[in-house]
Amino acid sequence: MTAADTTTAAGTGGGTGPAVTVEQMDVTYKVRGQDRLALRDISFQIGRNESYGLVGESGSGKSTVALALTRYLPRNGRVSAGSIRINGIDPLALGNTSLRELRARTVSMVYQEPGRALNPSIKVGRQIAEVYEIAGLDRKSALERSEAMLRKVQISDPGRVMERYPHQLSGGMAQRAVIAMALAAEPSLLILDEPTTALDVTVEAEVLDLVAALRDEFDTSVLFISHNLAVIAKMCDRVGVLYAGELIEEGVAREVFDQPRHPYTVGLLRCIPRRGQRKDNGRLDTIPGFLPPPGHSLTGCIFAARCPIAEERCRTAAPPAFAISPTRSSRCYLHEQTPDLPRNTPVNVELVSHRDAATAIVRVQGLSKTFDSRGEAVKALVGVDLSIERGETLGLVGESGSGKTTLARALLGLIAPDEGSIVELDSRPLEADARRRPREQLKALQIVFQNPDSALNRRHTVRRLISRPIARLAGLSGARLRERLADLVTSVRLEERHLALRPSQLSGGLKQRVAIARAFAGGPRIVVCDEPTSALDVSVQAAILNLLVDLQAKEQVTYLFISHDLGLVRYLSDRIAVLYLGRVMELGPAETVFAGPHHPYTEALLSAVPSLDGLHTERIRLSGEIPSAADPPSGCVFHTRCPRRLPTGICESTEPPLLEVAPGHLMSCHIPLDELRTLQDTGQAP
């Protein structure tokens, strides 16, 4: 255990001593009279003005660390061993008054949901001013300081924002207000718990930039908790990887992500498509198995059961933290072998592509959808022209509010498009309402929803959930139904014994497999995948993506793949459509769209995504958020946020047509392609 201490030398920055020291901390929850260890033997330090990241999948105990530091553990939880020091103070030893003092002045927290961190019945300005009033300022100067603080978090009109209630702010604005509040006390430690998970990539990028800038200005140490490795890579100096309540690897962020030295970290990084990886050049690796159940009593290494190189000693004695270098440690006996860790899933699978670019299976023309929202016409889709080719994967990207899901639901017949919209399957019009579609049309188009908890009837068993679509769409019954059921269960890699269970008894990944089996039950021709992995952990996501790729080859289906994760879209898609305010901005082969020159909006989306590979292409940033579809900007709808807007005024006055700028590559922009190429190569705005 002493080896863990060697890593503490890495505390960077000046000041006197580290901002946070945690030594051999255990956290125990009492569940029905029994003690369950949630964190064991956690040791780490955060230096002054250092940003320390904690990564881990759900259930790893990331948030419990934050709660323990601030003594916000729930009633049944306690720090059962070890010690914590924040600025040399032990929060565990504090009385009520000094604990309140610590939380008010020394430590601030920012959580995932900004809406829940703000009191809905108090104006934003008053809430921030309260922090200054507690610090002893009078009301007037407190309000002045709040306004200055809001300006610091780049809220352009702080005076007006202060007069608003939290529900009147967008997600990104609210999170800025929360950050303003957290920094108002000028804390020496700022804890950020998944601060951008609920935000769009473009907004995330802005908030992350803001946090990085303010950290320097306020000289604050940061504990950054996230499941997103790329965000941690971008934001943190050092990183600790949590698995099942143990810190299994620690070190300088760049080194950990480039040369991981624990099999879990290696596996986790292999689950993510990197460096432009695509489905044709190899499948993603997976981590088999599950987290050990909470409160487990494993004698050996907690990862041994899922580790491809585990030896006898791994199962009998827990490994200590080995110091690999003065700044690195890994809890693995075999940390030297990790670079050559064997894969769990073979790379080279020959994919039989059934792509046929000549045949459009679905054709959409002039597709519009107007919703009525309290008398206002909200144009969710405006004249979308699109065709989906047989056997391809068409990726659909855009911020929330861009119309991705509306487009998918209109195709499926779940919402009726406006009069005059044309939606055709095999050149024959599709009924607008799924309830009126004949079985052939229903069979042809199915969907895998984002959230399996919502998509699966929780009162039905898996057997029933999968059998019903077989009976309805394939028209099978009796022995032939059972045969098809067995086939489907095998092809989505479920097992016979899962059939008797209900969704609540399955893990997230297994639930999504059931949903996929349902979508494939009737032998569909097009499957819409609406963010199918966004509710899943990284390791589970990889297995689901591999499954989708296999099924596509086997069942010869066409995918419409909707995702906000551009990395996933790039990995899976043959062609990509970029949507903004219900309009197609760019459409083309995936590689062309990613390689550029791209539409300024696509460029902005790409620049916003944090990358694990260290190539931060932060050339342009979008300011503000997507405008309301009830009142879209004139001319090109993107002009209000476009960093490459032309000075001629044409962008404000005329909507650019969607034109073919290269074979198969369509774009809706006034700037000529060659000029875009020059601009995007040099990275200078006009």
């Binding site: 981590i287 088999p288 599950f290 998509a455 699966l456 297995a543």
Partner: protein
């Protein structure tokens, strides 16, 4: 785990070592039995249900037997709750009296729940004009005090047990429909209903096979809440002389029959039926509360 190119990939080990993460969860039933309030309520309810079923066998005297020489007797060893104006054993009448009330209240509540559930499902799922129309009727019914409405119907239709059961059941229908409707609206947001539409399921199947099992908890709570109100309404009606007629033992009717002699000091003839009513309603409410809490947790 080495797959040959082109061949179907082997199942990743994720599945083979899969364990159901929430296997050992406590069933709602077990959680209920762990609550003292539920146990207390259930004991009271079971006691009265036993009396309703086997009252005549348990009662020490016949509830009808008049002893004209022993009228208005104080509670004693022979007559625990004393005797009434006709010399009938009050204790026996209280025990046997549970039958009529439980019968009518339970039947009326079942009727209201079944009709209300069907109506609520239709309102919530189909929405539109049906929902608008029924919602306004529900509001109209709710605007009039329950007991007045019941009185109105019972006076118009006659005061047989059947009429009272039907009237209370029908009055409850819109109330229950409203609760079920809002539960259905919550379900309507979920994707499994879109999924059912994409299978071309008809509305009846979606309502009764897909949605109904998911709103059952809400219906169960509503049923127990309504049962309490039904008991209260039925007792009030029989106190007003509508419903069970003498000499059939009935708590409400017995209070009416005897409260005239209350000023003379014969308190036991009214207080014991009144306490019986109270205990039954408390029992029902204790059970209701526990069910609600367990389902909410």
């Amino acid at each position: 785990m080495i797959g040959t190119p082109g061949a179907p990939v082997e199942a990743p080990r994720e599945v083979t070592v899969a364990h159901a993460p929430r296997r050992a969860g406590s069933t709602p039933w077990r959680l209920l039995l762990r609550r003292p309030t539920f146990i207390a309520g259930a004991v009271i309810l079971l006691f009265w249900i036993t009396c309703a079923l086997f009252g005549t066998a348990i009662a020490p005297h016949s509830p009808f037997a008049q002893q004209l020489l022993a009228t208005n007797m104080r509670p004693s060893a022979a007559h625990w709750f004393g005797t009434d104006q006709l010399g009938r054993d009050v204790f026996s009448r209280v025990l046997v009296g549970s039958r009529s009330i439980l019968e009518i209240a339970a039947l009326a509540t079942v009727l209201g729940t079944v009709l209300g559930t069907a109506l609520g499902l239709v309102m919530g799922y189909l929405g539109g004009v049906v929902d608008l129309l029924v919602s306004r009727i529900v509001e109209a019914v709710l605007a009039v005090p329950l007991i007045i409405l019941a009185l109105l119907f019972v006076t118009a239709l006659g005061s047989s047990v059947l009429v009272i059961t039907l009237v209370v059941g029908f009055i409850f229908t819109p109330l229950i429909a409203r609760t079920v409707r809002s539960a259905v609206l919550v379900e309507s947001q979920l994707d499994y209903l879109s999924s059912a539409r994409l299978l071309g399921e008809n509305s009846a199947r979606v309502m009764f096979v897909e949605i109904l099992p998911n709103v059952m908890p809400a219906i169960l709570v509503e049923f127990t809440v309504r049962l309490g109100y039904a008991i209260f309404t039925v007792v009030a009606l029989s106190f007003l002389g509508l419903g069970i007629q003498p000499p059939t033992p009935d708590w409400g009717a017995d209070i009416t029959a005897n409260y005239g002699v209350l000023p003379a000091g014969y308190w036991w003839e009214t207080i014991f039926p009144a306490l019986a009513i109270m205990s039954l309603i408390i029992g029902v409410n204790l059970v209701t509360d526990s069910i609600e809490q367990v389902l909410a947790s």
